[in-house]
């Protein structure tokens, strides 16, 4: 039991690290792209192509490049998480009402103030929705990480499959499913709250 709990924490850490890096890079890129729209299409296509590559294929190629272990999985998670985060940041900021931006500029806000006081707060629910998608996907990909020598709950499932041991499979499958469904509900709840707050304002 204790071992499972430690693995749960391990699993969460790997997934969260990958997504966190993607959040930092992805939101920045999303913002930059709204200022350089002509290259937005190109960047989105590239991230879209990365997402199309089968998970096991990408992870195993990354393993050859970066070796076995958690770091390689985190790189993979980062790559997979970029698309939803960049796209949602980009779409979210572009969906801000022109009138509000004009009002902000008219009041003498600088572009930076406009970004932090108007654009990002309004786009937040959409950005969060991208992060939610990325994180749920990441929890799933992390289970595959075991195949390239990383930790996490995939370990139990994988060993269970090899040994055809039901208990072993379930001891990984149940916690990771609870994590995924729980994270989805929690982040979905947060997102709803933000949307409601935005509507009231």
């Amino acid at each position: 039991m204790e071992k499972i709990l430690i693995t749960v924490v391990d699993h969460l850490q790997i997934a969260a690290t990958g997504v966190l890096i993607a959040v930092l890079v992805g939101i920045t890129m999303g913002i930059v792209l709204t200022r350089y729209k002509p290259i937005a299409g190109f960047v989105m296509s590239v991230t879209d192509i990365i997402q199309t590559i089968p998970t096991l294929a990408l992870l195993s190629i990354l393993m050859i490049m970066f070796g076995l272990g958690n770091a390689t999985v985190i790189i993979g998670l980062f790559l997979y998480s970029l698309l939803p985060i960049i796209r949602n940041t980009y779409v979210g900021i572009l969906s801000v009402d022109e009138g509000l931006i004009e009002a902000g500029l008219g009041m003498g806000m600088t572009k930076t103030q406009l970004l932090f006081k108007v654009e990002l707060p309004i786009a937040l629910p959409i950005i969060l929705s991208g992060i939610r998608i990325a994180f749920i996907t990441a929890l799933g990909i992390t289970t595959i990480g075991v195949l390239i020598g990383a930790g996490g709950l995939g370990h139990f499932i994988w060993r269970g499959i090899q040994m055809q041991n039901t208990r072993m499979i379930l001891s990984g499958a149940i916690p990771v499913s609870i994590l995924a469904v729980g994270a989805d509900l929690l982040l979905g709840f947060l997102e709803n709250k933000l949307v409601k707050r935005a509507k009231r304002a």
Partner: protein, 375 residues
């Protein structure tokens, strides 16, 4: 042609049609009109069984329509709706030919019919038959909508506010067209509208409804010269007769829909609202609708801070006049004091309207040119 006998329609406890009796004669263009919620659209849609009556009977050519399969019934009744509803995945010709195709007409007969119909509204088949609805203007689309309804030569056509979404000029030409087609093809048409000008222009018989009942059913002339009661007189008057219209108080010359806000609205939101409504100031009112002042776009731009509300930017120094002020007097104040606007308030200081130079000019134009079609 169509006869309603003691027709009633209720949704749960709410009665929308109350004991309706109506006889629509063959070859007539009958317009159902009345304020929204009067039951005119429900009445129309009961004829092709899109809506089923709660009790009573409807007969077409003496046959009880509940005895006819609704699908077969509808194929013999043309139907035109306000949203037009041309199928975007089909060409113009395919749209027009749907019902003939459902009825199993051979292809060459269908094609010939389509060409004949397009010629009837001066749209050349070579140019339009193979286009898609999205490539046509709104007016052209609704012409096709009408043709689609006429395609299988139904003796009866139902039209549910067909021109409501079109601009005034297109609307007029389509009204002429429908009237012309109806006379030429001798169709019976039941037509729903809320526009009295439209009704007076095209109707053989106008059926004026209110609260699910027929108030008066008569020819346009009869309706104008002999309104059955005050409601009818008022309904025609409001829509049609400028003869009695005089400008007396400010209520006749003001805008009835000034843009008002409460003072807890944010600065950016107010600017966005002004931009959307095309105005440069907003009247600020309290929760009861009582006037508190005015806020202008200039002031927000100069002194406003993002994320704050407008309460400290309100200009309380605003000229108001009571609703019963003489229009002439209001005009004089506006000109002499070089004001942009006057707020019109009632005895409780509630905002009722806004007098601007434009609103006065509009009111005068209506009297001079008897032009009130674009409210």
């Amino acid at each position: 042609m169509v006869r309603f006998e003691n027709v009633k329609k209720a949704y749960n406890d709410v009665t929308v049609i109350e004991d309706l009796n109506l006889h629509i004669k063959e070859g007539q263009l009958v317009v159902l009109i009345g304020p929204s919620g009067c039951g005119k659209t429900t009445t129309l849609k009961m004829i092709n069984r899109i809506i089923e009556p709660t009790s009573g009977s409807i007969y077409i050519d003496g046959e009880d329509i509940t005895k006819v399969n609704p699908v077969m019934l509808r194929r013999k009744i043309g139907y035109v709706i306000q949203q037009i509803g041309l199928f975007p995945n089909m060409t113009i010709a395919q749209n027009v030919e749907i019902i003939p195709k459902l009825l199993g007409w051979p292809a060459d007969k269908r094609r010939k019919r389509t060409e004949e119909l397009l010629h009837m509204v001066d749209m050349s088949p070579e140019q339009y038959a193979d286009r898609y609805p999205s490539e046509l203007s709104g007016g052209q689309q609704q012409r096709i909508g009408v043709l689609r309804a006429l395609a299988a030569e139904p003796p009866l056509v139902l039209m549910d506010e067909p021109f409501g979404a079109l601009d005034p000029i297109t609307r007029e030409s389509l009204q002429d067209e429908v009237k012309r087609l109806q006379k030429k093809l001798k169709k019976t048409i039941v037509f729903v509208t809320h526009d009295m000008d439209e009704a007076l222009k095209i109707a053989d018989v106008i059926v004026l409804m209110k609260d699910g009942k027929i108030v008066q059913a008569a020819s346009p002339e009869e309706l104008l010269s002999n309104p059955a009661n005050d409601f009818v007189a008022q309904f025609i008057g409001k829509h049609r007769l400028n003869d009695g219209l005089e400008i007396e108080t400010v209520e006749d010359v003001m805008r009835h829909d000034p843009v008002t806000v409460t003072k807890d609205i944010g600065t950016s939101e107010s600017v966005a609202l002004m931009k959307r409504k095309g105005v440069n100031s907003l009247l600020v009112v309290d929760d009861e609708g009582r006037l508190e002042g005015v806020v202008t776009v200039d002031k927000i731009r100069k002194q406003g801070k993002a994320g704050r509300n407008i309460s400290e930017l309100i200009d309380k120094d605003i000229r108001t006049i009571p609703t019963n002020t003489n229009a002439r007097e209001a005009f004089d104040i506006l000109i002499e004091d070089k004001l942009d606007y006057l707020a019109v308030v009632d005895d409780k200081n509630k905002v009722k309207g806004l007098v601007t130079k434009t609103s006065i000019v509009k009111a005068l134009a209506e009297v001079v040119w008897k032009d009130n079609g674009h409210e």
